[in-house]
């Protein structure tokens, strides 16, 4: 048991069950997770392993069937909308699909001004707000003057995802949940996005929970790694320990499945019978 004071977010025995009776699906099954302040932790698993469900529970978007979440040592209470809103100033998310993350009726300005308001800056003079927005945009290599009167659909996928990071920059949450933030953009923009996330973490000392199916990516960004399969955590530990010396059979398979450059990629291990 690690010192409780160190963990900023902790889930104990988290379980989520969808459906009833014989159609019951246990998406997340008694999972214990712990995220320490300022660290990047990854949750890695195949599609259908329950990693997104776990993220949604941590974010307070869906309630767990069983188990508790502790935020900064206190038990999380999200029974009213006011409490949820307060929690969301501390935890924010970037999702997989940038195209569906935006309100299509709002201009970029509105979106960024919303973020300033959430941080309690609604009474600031307008010039100050513009300064803040310009700073946030330049942090992600976008030009505020070019964006100021645009709608989200006028941007490319990579730009949208970068603007999402600009939002996080303005909000300065304590925790960021990044749910496959790079799986829909190409390898080159991926490097840019990862770079920005890391820069952001160093700047505002944020805790990042990184959710991905690409174990190579997880290894590159994170300090500690959780491997998830069929709703359970099968292995956890520091990144070096888990990726370079995997203990669980499942982890070994995941690492084998990723194409490599300096080592041979063994295709003979493919098991077609798994549907």
């Amino acid at each position: 048991m690690v010192d409780e004071n160190q963990a900023i977010l902790r889930g104990v025995g988290l379980t989520k069950v969808f459906g009833l009776g014989h159609r019951k699906t246990i998406a997340v099954d008694h999972v214990d997770v712990e995220f320490r302040e300022g660290e990047v932790s990854s949750i890695v698993g195949e599609s259908g392993s329950g990693k997104t469900t776990l993220a949604k529970m941590l974010l307070g978007l869906i309630g767990p069937t069983e188990g508790e979440i502790y935020f900064q040592g206190k038990k999380l209470d999200l029974r009213t909308y006011k409490k949820k809103k307060e929690y969301w100033t501390n935890i924010q998310a970037i999702f997989q699909d940038p195209y569906s993350s935006y309100n299509i009726f709002n201009k970029i300005d509105t979106l960024l001004l919303d973020c300033i308001r959430m941080r309690g800056g609604q009474r600031l003079p307008h010039a100050k707000k513009v300064d803040m927005m310009t700073e946030a945009c330049s942090f992600v290599n976008l030009k505020y003057e070019e964006l100021t009167n645009k709608y989200p659909f006028e941007l490319s996928g990579g730009q949208m995802q970068r603007l999402m990071i600009a939002r996080i920059f303005l909000l300065k949450p304590k925790i960021l949940v990044a749910d496959e933030p790079t799986s829909m953009i190409d390898a080159c923009s991926r490097a840019t996005i990862l770079d920005m996330l890391m820069k952001l973490r160093n700047e505002i000392g944020m805790t990042i929970i990184f959710i991905t199916h690409d174990i190579g990516l997880a290894y590159y960004v994170s300090d500690s790694v959780y491997i998830m399969a069929h709703g359970k955590i099968v292995e956890s530990g520091s990144a070096d320990e888990v990726i370079l010396h995997p203990k669980a059979e499942y982890t070994r398979r995941l690492i084998n499945d990723v194409p490599k450059i300096h080592e041979a990629w063994d295709l003979s291990t493919v098991n077609y019978s798994e549907i």
Partner: protein
């Protein structure tokens, strides 16, 4: 040297926008694929990779238009053929195409076997149900797909399974050339590996004689294909074997792409990812000189004046840059 299965000479195709502007997304592309070989095409999004894949089939529909150049499949020239003939005799039989979201091609109201019947009847209206079933069953067995899949509806299958089913269906008439356009980018790593294994099996068992594989994932490309071509802004900027292009890239753009590789190997964490700044140019009015000049670290004033030739340096290696091989290697060593 084996028999050339697919030969493309100076192919140019364009999009015509609704304002009447011409966008040349494939600009004088030449390539050759021999029997039993596979060719990979790498590049960022928006570089014309997918347009090249569509153009290679010889069947064009608006807003994509054919401009010039020729495509030769196993000695048969298909450019200039009647579109109806191409659809009936070439597509599926000589050349097959797997799009990125191939699994969405399945009709949700048809069982897989009826979908396959549709495909075969389009080329051979007289084929009997029994023949088709036998062919499909045999092919599925060889490719490691369970027979009961044939009697299922698409909703009953997982994403990876659907993708493999569509691939098996698209090559059921044993085409000579297969074009796979990011066949695994929507799948997780385990299903991706199955798809790759299947494509390899197809090549090894001779159902497909040559393959073109398009992706932006370089580690994947390195493991799947024999040769790699790097594409930028509608042009080919580098060509070579997979080994050469990944470990000894010549063009500064290829070098930049290699800097964004992430693999789970020890030592990766200490390498700093280098992203190429900026975005690809707008092809409505491409730059007159080198198209990569605005984003290049080693740019010289003369880069922006003339268009750069695609220089052949022997052994199938070629690149498009004003610098010589030695100069480039030296520049990369110094960072």
């Amino acid at each position: 040297m084996g028999k050339v299965m697919l030969e493309v000479n100076e192919l140019t195709t364009k999009y015509i926008t609704r304002f009447g502007e011409n966008v040349y997304a494939v600009d004088h592309v030449s390539l050759k694929v021999e029997e039993g070989k596979s060719l990979g095409i790498a590049g960022e999004s928006g570089c014309g990779k997918s347009t090249l894949a569509l153009s290679l089939m010889g069947y064009y529909f608006a807003p994509l238009h054919y401009t010039s150049g020729e495509i030769i499949i196993d000695g048969q020239k298909i450019t200039g053929m009647d579109p109806d003939d191409i659809r009936r005799k070439i597509l599926g039989k000589e050349i097959a195409y797997i799009p990125q979201a191939a699994m969405n091609a399945l009709n949700p109201t048809l069982k897989i076997i009826h979908f396959i019947e549709d495909v075969i009847r389009a080329h051979d209206p007289k084929a009997s149900k029994k023949e088709i079933y036998e062919l499909a069953r045999e092919r599925f067995e060889i490719l490691g797909l369970p027979e009961e899949v044939l009697q299922k509806y698409p909703v009953e299958l997982s994403g990876g399974m659907k993708q493999r089913t569509v691939i098996a269906t698209s090559v059921i008439l044993s085409p000579k050339v297969l074009i796979a356009d990011e066949p695994s980018s929507a799948l997780d790593v385990t299903s991706q590996k199955m798809v790759i294994k299947m494509l390899r099996d197809l090549m090894e068992k001779g159902y497909v004689k040559a393959m073109i594989f398009i992706t932006h994932e370089l580690p994947l490309l390195y493991n799947v294909t024999d040769d790699i071509m790097v594409m930028y802004a509608g042009q080919i900027v580098e060509r070579g074997t997979a080994q050469e292009v990944v470990f000894d890239p010549l063009h500064p753009y290829s070098k930049g792409l290699m800097g964004a590789i992430i693999v789970p190997e020890s030592g990766v964490r200490n390498v700093k990812l280098t992203a190429i700044p900026g975005t690809p140019p707008n092809l409505k009015n491409p730059p007159s000189g080198c198209r990569f000049a605005d984003r290049c670290k080693y740019v010289q004033p003369e880069c922006k004046v003339h268009s750069i030739d695609f220089r052949d340096i022997g052994n199938g290696r070629a690149y498009r840059c004003i610098f010589s091989e030695e100069e480039l290697r030296k520049a990369y060593q110094n960072g």
